[in-house]
């Protein structure tokens, strides 16, 4: 009756393998494999997508993301500095901005920006500027919090050393603190680049024309002219071409910066005696 602890653990492991096997069997038995093959793996449809899916859609996705990321990074840095400001209204404004744009779906921001701004301000941006501003506005809210955390993670002694050498507060921030903050937050920033890559799929709402298609819009358009769902698979793989290397980059940077922090007396003391 009473099983040993080791025996129980073994039984539990068998049970886990059993559930996995059962799930696979159910999937194989009940899925319509012929239909799946016809729907997702239509080679003719796939072949017809090249080279446009790469030279237009993938390229546009990268361009939109990079533009949005660049603008978001600058705005995010400004918001982070506002959040750390000693001037109350700056802090409040930054907090309101961050809470608002983090709490609202990106799609709504794009609609409001794409259609609202031309109406309200009588200005018309080209598609690249629109995408850059719209994606950047959303990305900045996330990046601001990351950058603020990075700035606060730089030891206070760094500022004191800079100030005692005669640097002004601003000079110390630009020359000493911000470069070190960005080293610290490189891994999370890479993650935000991945999120932004996926968010760029939502800009279809702005109304794109053929040469402006990014991956998702391109996939949907091809889908409407195709009897199979193959475009969705191809487009999905294209996203992975972008995001997987970024994911690896992020983990690599995390490993690298994890081992080499700003030198502290304790750390260097240990290194010496080792």
């Amino acid at each position: 009756m009473a099983m040993s602890k080791r025996r129980r653990a073994q039984m539990f492991r068998y049970l886990q393998y059993g559930i996995l096997l059962l799930a696979l069997v159910l999937l194989i038995v009940f899925a319509n494999w012929g239909q799946i093959k016809r729907s997702f793996f239509n080679l003719d449809t796939a072949a017809a997508m090249f080279p446009d899916v790469i030279v237009v859609a993938l390229l546009n996705t990268v361009i939109y993301t990079v533009l949005g990321f660049a603008f978001g990074l600058v705005l995010g840095l400004i918001l982070a500095l506002m959040k750390l400001s000693s001037v109350g209204p700056y802090r409040w404004l930054a907090t309101i901005y961050i809470e608002f744009f983090r709490g609202v779906p990106a799609l709504l921001v794009f609609i409001a920006f794409g259609f609202g701004v031309p109406l309200a301000f009588q200005v018309r941006f080209d598609i690249y500027s629109t995408v850059m501003l719209a994606l950047g506005l959303v990305g900045a809210a996330y990046m601001a919090e990351t950058i603020r955390a990075g700035i606060q993670a730089v030891p206070k002694g760094q500022v004191e050393a800079a100030r005692s050498l005669g640097m002004s507060q601003g000079r110390a921030m630009i020359t000493i603190v911000i470069p070190q903050a960005f080293r610290i937050i490189l891994p999370p920033l890479t993650n935000e680049l991945i999120l932004l890559t996926k968010d760029s799929s939502l800009i279809y709402i702005l109304g794109l024309i053929g040469t402006e298609y990014e991956l998702t819009k391109y996939g949907r358009e091809t889908l409407s002219r195709s009897p199979s769902l193959t475009p969705i698979l191809i487009v999905g793989l294209c996203y992975l071409i972008i995001t997987l290397p970024l994911g690896y980059l992020s983990r690599y940077l995390e490993r690298r910066t994890g081992g080499r922090k700003v030198p502290s007396p304790e750390a260097s003391g240990l290194e010496v005696s080792a």
Partner: protein, 259 residues
Amino acid sequence: MSETETETDSDVVVDISGLTKSFGSLNVLLGIDMLVNRGEVVCIIGPSGSGKSTLLRCVNLLETPNAGSVIVNGVELTHPDADIDAARRRIGMVFQSFNLFGHLRVLENLTVAQRKVLKRGRQEATEIALANLERVGLSDKAHALPSELSGGQQQRCAIARALSMDPEVMLFDEPTSALDPELVGDVLGVMRQLADEGMTMLVVTHEMQFAREVADKVLFMDGGYVVEEGPAEQVIADPQHERTKTFLSRVLNPAHQEG
């Protein structure tokens, strides 16, 4: 340029009077008067919490005093219109935790303020930096990152960084307290050499041997006051006040050896 003229006609480099400082309800400094003459080495000793580091940090206004005046190189830093940044260029500071700039190589640590603050050219700044690295025995580490240096090397690099600004006075805030015992000697050696060269130095330290041998004057602080001050030999070997005696016997007697 106009500031430098006033410096030369006075032998007093640091002149502090009636200095008080509190953090919230905690009164750390309760009225300090202190004079440091040109070329003098003054060591500040005392138990932890006595306010000695705070006093040092008030000299270059890293801490803002509540009352009293701080005059360094003839400039009253506590005056509302004082250009603190300009004054700090001539006040070198060395921290307990080194505070080297982690993203910059050793040479850049020494040139960055020369270039951005003193507006020296790249070549001039580099020459001055290399000369100071040699002074502290780190010529071969110019291109290392701070994290690749031992604690003692980092602290010597920090001293060279401060020296590269041609300071009128150097402040040392427990420069050897974060070091492994076997590395303390190198740093004290560099400080001894600076003292011999005539540098005006204000040193907060627990190294009694160093204070005794190098300091011209020793201040013993306790509870926010300067309890006793005088020539090093007198204060350390023959203290007059009860509190100084108690402190010194605690520090010196428990088989406290120095590198």
